[in-house]
Symmetry: D2
Subunit: 283 residues, 4 copies
């Protein structure tokens, strides 16, 4: 694959686009898509994502990165070159409810998830078979708040072993320690089963039912230390009415959860997301 | 018009539907639509809405009501006969932003709101012309938290004068006193510019922007003493992304607000809503 | 299970609801939900679906059916008693693309499809493993227009062997003969990958792309002799834009197809659908 | 206003983005948003829309246009400079149903339509008051197929008189001659009350009802000689069920029509649309 993506973040100033596109042109790269966003036309933060094709990319890339560092210095850029041939290693944390895990496995099997699902870790045995039957290693690590530290040590060892780039919490239902969260900053995606910031915390469907809402939702976000307060990547909703009890809401919600999480994971894998403060820019 | 609606609420027990439909049949009424809902198949609360046609309804109705009271006693029913020819008188409270008021006026002009918009009251002069040009009386009553009691006295006088059945807060933006709320219990509909229970209170779009949500919403509900906590009638949402600033969110939100409020008002006017605790049953 | 459903269709006239609900009450049945619809308030067709609970249903049901036949005669009713304990046997016809089949299997595994998936028949081997690994018999019957008659003979034999109540064409892609269609009238559900009546026939995504539509859709319908002209059960759509080529449309479409087909199948299994002429009434 | 947009269309080749962004940078312009699209990574058509801010634009613009023509020649570009301060003059053609016209007037009054609604022409008197009360000239020109040529002569005279840039058919319901269509090519927007290509031609709601669809839609498109076959700009849909007769569908459809048309008109006014063959690219 000769395809790559360049993600840029820097103070806005004249000439960025001209300089970057000139740079790519001079190195024989052809821009396929380009997106940009400025927080404030005058003097704010500038964000850019360029996807380009470049013949002989493998040979050229170290040289290009070196040359680009001069531009980056000049414009005070925070940047990343991402190469499509560097397939990301993904670990999925699951619990008892399999719908989100299954959706991801399904997308992966049908070739729509450009990633290597390297390992699945769960605090229950329920999903072992659906994971192993697909040839993916499965680890059962019982978890509860009291042994959190020790559980995470085991998990981290596995994540290192498989050289994991992204951890997806597919309805994992356990809170992670600040240490863990810090280590996987902006590489740890969770699905929360409510339309955040409504129903932060436990039992959102039960509370949605109590409140008598007419719509329920799901939110995928990067995990931070503050529960359910991380940068939101994607949300969606579904209609409910007075006939829907908690069980019906859960069922309707599962369809929303699985598609919201799957979209968020895809966008992350396609390097479409830039985190800025507590928000995401999704190009 | 020979059309009427019967709304019933009582403890669930065998024979309710049979008895009520027998009653209507014996009085020459033909059921047009019928909806029912039970909280719990065994021993919960039972809710029913029947819309029926009955030749010579005007002559018969007092007799029917008298006869029905025996059935109602037997089943411990809480019930209402609503007659389509009894057009409801509606008062709209507005403030500076006209979009919700305009939507209601528009629906009314095109014959889709079966009501008499009797009066519009506002704490600003901005909407006077669009109201008076349609032949609807307009009252300008300046309002602020300090003179709340006195303002509401004036408002109540007007509501009595026009024999108002339903008060619609079309982005009125002023908090009402418990006395006022009590007097118009289940007859006072508000539109809140967020997807409740997210962003209760002031400046929801500003807070949605701060939180970085990917969808914004609106909620219509009956007003209770607890701010934005009343029974929800209808909700809807719209997509936003990182490019949408607060002004863009407000604009997107206005379209949602006006259609959500207009649906809620229509359902109320068609006697489709039964309030049960802090929830609505919308048939 | 003591739960049953009564579906009624007859000329509208006074007293139907009263009589039917009286009948159920006298036989000790408690109405759980009831829906009705009249084509025309005066003298049109009347449709009704009642779901009821009845203790000792198994003992009572033959008697109830006999007693009801008198009422049915009087009102010239076309009716069906459906018992929830009579689980329907379903056959799924699939081809190469597995997404619709997989969705149904998934719903079934998670207990959300109240049916017995008795057999899967396909003209390709591709889906054999996902079927057999779930313990469902799989039959590979190669098919092409020239051997249609002979293929259908084999299929019919299998359908009889498994006592099939409903055949679902989960992207089967082969046209069936009028004989086959007749035999499974109103028990043969297809998913068409367009928003009918747009793009009837072959290659709808290719044609949607050519036309430059901004939304694509899917339609589930009962199969009739006229290609893609049968009674529509459910439809849904998804957004596309100029960046979406045919492959992207297919991918977006697959998500729509699988949820539209799954809803249609569920409604059929819950006896919610009454076919009237070339339309469906979905209660 | 120092804001402008540059729309480009040319054969794809390396260096376009670099050259154009370099050009803008050298002329002191700052890119605000930039979108691009290539039909085929190697050798297809390339499309680009750049919105930029440029101090002293008024003084510089003729020079910039002259300088750019050299670049345009080199890359064989088809291009347009559009200046935000050149407010477009819009004519609206209406008939009896006012909802689409009203929506546009409303958007315009609230400052969300960056255009000058210069004139409204109708073949009925119904909407005269709502137009004139807003200070917009109204012309009543009765129309029918037999006097089409003569009617269009009158209309064209008015369009010239007001120097019209865009004609919006807000449910005008009359077919225009090829001559008229040619003159306003890509500047003539229609709203069709169906989800095209379903229900091309007359009475789409009646036909949607006959077909028993579960969703109805609306389509805005540029008008071409082939009825309802022009490049689609935007579409949307709404749910209906068996209870919705033709009148109910029309009512639901009106809300869809007005928002679909209003979005299409806005995108045109913001120079977001490039027509390519029979499709639109909407940036």
């Amino acid at each position: 694959e000769n395809r790559a993506r360049l993600l840029i973040r820097c103070p806005d100033q004249p000439g960025i686009v001209a300089t970057v596109s000139q740079f790519l042109h001079e190195h024989g790269a052809n821009i396929v898509t380009s997106d940009q966003y400025t927080l404030d036309p005058e003097g704010g933060q500038f964000f850019m994502r360029i996807e380009y094709e470049c013949p002989d990319l493998l040979k050229k890339k170290s040289n290009m990165e070196k040359d680009f560092s001069l531009i980056a210095d000049k414009f005070e850029m925070n940047y990343d070159f991402m190469y499509v041939h560097d397939i990301k290693n993904v670990a999925i944390f699951a619990s008892k409810e399999p719908h989100c895990l299954l959706e991801l496995l399904w997308e992966w099997e049908s070739g729509d998830l450009m990633a290597n699902i390297a390992v699945v870790i769960s605090n229950h045995e329920t999903v072992r078979e659906m994971v192993e039957s697909r040839g993916i290693p499965f680890y059962y690590i019982p978890a509860n708040p009291e042994i959190r530290k020790q559980v995470e040590e085991e998990q981290k060892k596995i994540l290192e072993q498989y050289d994991i780039d992204l951890v997806v919490l597919a309805r994992y239902m356990q809170i992670l320690t600040p240490d863990f969260v810090k280590e996987y900053k902006n590489r740890l995606i969770n699905i929360h089963h409510s339309f955040l910031p409504a129903f932060i915390g436990a039992k959102p469907y039960e509370r949605a039912f109590q409140r008598g809402v007419k719509m329920i939702g799901a939110t995928s976000h990067y995990v931070t230390d503050d529960l359910d307060e991380g940068p939101i990547i994607e949300q969606d909703i579904g209609r409910v009415d007075h006939r829907d009890d908690v069980a019906a809401m859960k069922k309707i919600g599962q369809e929303i959860e699985r598609s919201v999480l799957s979209r968020a994971v895809k966008w992350h894998l396609e390097d479409r997301i830039i985190v800025h403060g507590n928000k995401t820019i999704v190009f």
